[in-house]
Symmetry: C2
Subunit: 596 residues, 2 copies
């Protein structure tokens, strides 16, 4: 059940694909060179491999539990969280001014991948706290920042996001929680929030709930939602803890996976009102929440990468160990380890290729985010921000959708043993299933990709990325060999398919929205497959050049790129057919409701 | 959590695609006309919908349990099994001579689909008993048949298949269980069998274990395996029960799904030897077991169809009920039921299309099996048998692989609620995960499809099926409209891809087996996608002709066929690329073991 962080691949991606050395030239990131990255990753790998990974199965067998409003985390989690906090891991990417480490998101992303690979349930607590920190830094008052952010970064307190209500899931316009002004600047909140991850627990002294609610005269719909901070324990002016606030966990859910992570139903104001404070301006809550959500969505994408890698590592270990059947080519008379069988190879290579591609795409996105924040040139910043924002729904949607396939293949590699819970492969399959749902389902990501990220700028960002793909195809053209041949062929086809889809989306969204949205998720997946393939092609070019330096590592990069070209990229034309050629989604919408 | 058997679609497939009326002209099947089929299906639907479907969730929450060697089935199962047995449902397809109903496999297949849709765990017990009956009818002595088969058909006793041992899963050459002759014609068996489905339980008075074992002088490998019948209670000459035999359940597994179905570890001979009798001839056990396995594999394919349909029905019900978000086309100012949203439509249509296609292909296969058994012309029988045998691994492998996608989409349609176990959607996702593993993993099915079913006859059967596809494409050519246009385009492409793959397999398996087996599962899936699409095309032709008779039903058939053409069939060219164009599987096999 162990986990070994793939530091070598992470550093390869950071250096060769995401441009860490360029990031380290940005103001404030001067120390963030490859040596720093390596040192940070090695420390992170220790904590994740030694402390968090072994607790993962414990969390599945002995989930966090609820009793009389009190939630007790899985045994071992509280101590692990203390080690996590003391190591400063919550603050990797947060500002030095608030006692963070101020490192680039690119480096933090690798740490976040490790955290999730080792223990998805555990990682969710810091993930939500990161979101709360982001929101406070963006929209909080100076006082709020001073009180909350250092405590959140130190791990003394944790944060949550309270969006969902029973009638308001994907559709936040339906939020009904009320916030009544008390005349002293504070509000009293009343309502029920569900699906609140780590909404109650015993790992930290206080919990800062960020809560969407409506003030009395707020307009209907999403433009009448405000954001409040509601601490579990009220906070005195000196930052010490006061009375217990009127927010209570009335139950936690019994879930398919990530069982150690308590999913709380929170009741606000059943005993007189939960005291909260407005963050930023009234009625701009959704806007602020989107800041948290973008960070959280990217991080959930990393959960997909992390659990995929974990499942891959486990499947490889089993395949090397399990002896069964003679080779199909008759090369041995005896049964061999199943990793020798072509179909097991195909499964492992699929798992590996998808994991590497989704990792590379996410790290590249993180680097764009870093440049967007730190580059001295405003136009540059805006350009990189736009690319980052285009990539976020893809990192979230594609990496998590493929984590289901990868963890499912992980079970399959184990054969009958995979279905036995003691083996552990099934946990990843169960855990992964939430990833394409929370922080916005894949359809919600795809709507975002179409509406805000593709149509709004007339496909400009999408086409700039496609130009990058074309440039890489050009570079491939100068090279010889089977890997390059396959990559050229299928990346060219992928480029054509994604271009056609972008044109289709840009041209038709306004006039025939149903036709476009019928292919929304296929468009998102197509973008993931092609842009992920682009990173594999870039890796191939680097690996071919450096092969002699480290034949095993770079040789594996080349083979994996070739595999991805031949087994993943061909899907692009199938997606294109479904999106573009399918006559405006006619068949998707043909049935009346009662024909289903 | 209810289940409504799709009798109308089942009868449509039986009549229009599988040729029930022709089956009813075969000797012995004279009564098996459409009226009979309808009456049988309606009765079966009652039992499945009213008795078995409600027990499905109970089995998940309260699995069968083990204590001191005794396994107690989930509460309610014993009584349900009594009703199942009394209704004569175990005997639907078995010979009248042994108190079966002697109906065609085609009709039995619909009953088996219902049984599995309503309760996968429950259905496994009759599924294994069917296998035991088949094996006894084929290879048992007259005495064995007389003693065992009527009791198995009546449900007084049940049957099991004992193949797997800890070191022998896919690789039966490694079976080590010993059978020592006692001089009186009986044997004493010693060994451990694992993963024995319904290997011990309290629903019937006796259990007939069919066990693979080796006699003392048997040759090594698969040619030294014999088949034995080892009853839980010894059977006296008059058929009454004697002493408890020395076969004991030492534990049952803690599994990801199908929790009501006890998966037993059986210990043979720990107290002096388990008394068994040889079935058929020594050392021919694997051959006989293959008879059971072919029947069981087909039935597991039906498990895939069944659980897919169940997940589809549940997702549709939720999507009609759950109100969330306004339509993307602005056609309503209020939030609408999520079934109105294009992406939910796409998910439901994918679930529906895959379920209908896999159902149709399986029923068509069952009809070939019926003709193979009953046609007066020997050459005809052989021809249909060959087609049936080609289709079995596809029905097994493809229907079960797609059931994972379908049940996963079922969770996704439910959003966050899908991840909560109380909702029930997650159970199908967990239950389905075993289907591509047991009774031979998808890779094992694909090896069978390549070796025995495609290469051995030089692709003759595959090409005869492709000729059928071409004929249907011709018939589509005469028709107008978007559904026909799409189906023509993508079925033609699919035909081309499958033809290319068959040629590749036939040409290269001998000379470059690794290259072919690297694409074995893609070949199986390609065959499923295209041959399933063929059935959808045939359904489209019928539906277009009859549309006026029942516009809602046939209109839905047309739309579903179009959807399948546009969203599923395009995958064919991606599979072709992976199988044929990928330069002999080079990238699959490029990495050395330690590069993983």
């Amino acid at each position: 059940m162990s986990y070994t962080a793939p530091i070598k691949d992470m550093l390869f991606v950071m250096k060769e694909l995401a441009g860490l050395e360029d990031i380290a030239t940005l103001p404030g990131f001067e120390d963030a060179n490859l040596d720093t990255a390596q040192a940070v990753l090695e420390e992170s790998a220790k904590l994740c491999g030694e402390v968090l990974a072994p607790l993962n199965v414990e969390g599945d067998r002995n989930p966090s539990s609820w009793k009389d409003g009190v939630v007790t985390a899985t045994p071992g989690f509280k101590d692990a969280f203390r080690q996590f906090a003391e190591g400063g891991w919550q603050g990797v990417q947060h500002p030095v001014d608030y006692e963070g480490q101020g490192l680039p998101k690119l480096i933090a992303t690798a740490c976040i991948e490790m955290l999730n690979a080792s223990n998805l349930s555990f990682a969710l607590c810091p993930l939500l706290t990161d979101g709360a920190i982001e929101a406070l830094l963006t929209a909080g008052s100076e006082e709020q920042k001073q009180i909350y952010v250092p405590k959140l970064i130190s791990g003394e307190w944790t944060g949550t996001m309270n969006l969902t209500e029973p009638q308001a899931g994907s559709d936040l316009a339906l939020v009904r929680t009320r916030a009544e002004p008390q005349g002293d600047g504070s509000f009293k909140l009343f309502g029920t929030k569900i699906f609140i991850t780590w909404g109650e627990h015993d790992m930290a002294k206080n919990i800062a709930h960020l809560v969407l609610a409506r003030t009395p005269d707020a307009p209907e719909g999403v433009k009448g939602i405000s954001l409040f901070i509601v601490p579990k324990f009220l906070v005195n002016e000196d930052g010490s803890l006061g009375e217990r606030n009127d927010v209570h966990c009335v139950s936690i859910e019994h879930k398919l996976g990530i069982k150690a992570s308590p999913t709380a139903v929170l009741q606000f104001g059943d005993h007189g009102g939960a005291i909260g404070h407005l963050i930023g301006e009234e009625n701009r809550g959704l806007e602020y929440m989107f800041i948290m959500m973008n960070a959280a969505r990217f991080a959930v994408g990393m959960q997909g990468v992390g659990v995929s890698d974990r499942a891959y590592q486990k499947a490889v270990a089993y395949a090397k160990d399990r002896v069964q059947s003679r080779p199909v080519d008759g090369s041995a008379k005896q049964s061999v380890a199943i990793i020798q069988h072509p179909d097991v190879r195909r499964m492992l290579s699929t798992m590996r290729g998808l994991t590497e591609a989704s990792r590379a795409l996410a790290y590249v996105a993180a680097a764009h985010c870093d440049i967007a924040h730190r580059h001295p040139d405003e136009a540059k910043r805006a350009g990189h921000q736009a690319i980052y924002e285009y990539l976020v729904p893809i990192v979230k949607g594609w990496s998590t959708e493929l984590s289901i396939d990868v963890t499912s293949l992980g079970v399959q590699v184990h054969g009958g043993m995979g279905f036995i819970e003691e083996t552990g492969a099934a946990q990843y399959y169960r855990d992964a299933r939430i990833l394409p749902i929370y922080e916005g389902t894949t359809a919600i990501q795809a709507n975002d990709l179409i509406g805000r990220k593709t149509v709004r700028d007339g496909g400009k960002v999408a086409k700039s990325l496609l130009a990058g793909v074309a440039e890489t195809i050009g570079a491939l053209g100068a090279q010889q060999g089977a890997a390059f041949d396959s990559m050229k062929t299928y990346l060219t086809q992928g480029h054509r398919s994604l271009s056609a889809a972008v044109d289709f989306v840009v041209t038709n969204t306004k006039g025939d929205p149903n036709a476009v949205f019928a292919g929304s998720v296929p468009y998102l997946k197509l973008a993931g497959v092609v842009l992920g393939g682009w990173q594999m092609a870039r890796a191939l070019l680097v690996a071919a050049e450096k092969r002699a330096e480290d034949p095993s590592f770079y040789g594996a990069k080349i083979a994996t790129a070739q595999f991805y070209a031949e087994h993943v990229l061909p899907l692009a034309s199938a997606f294109e057919a479904s999106i573009v050629s399918a006559k405006g989604g006619e068949s998707v919408l043909a049935l009346s409701e009662d024909q289903f």
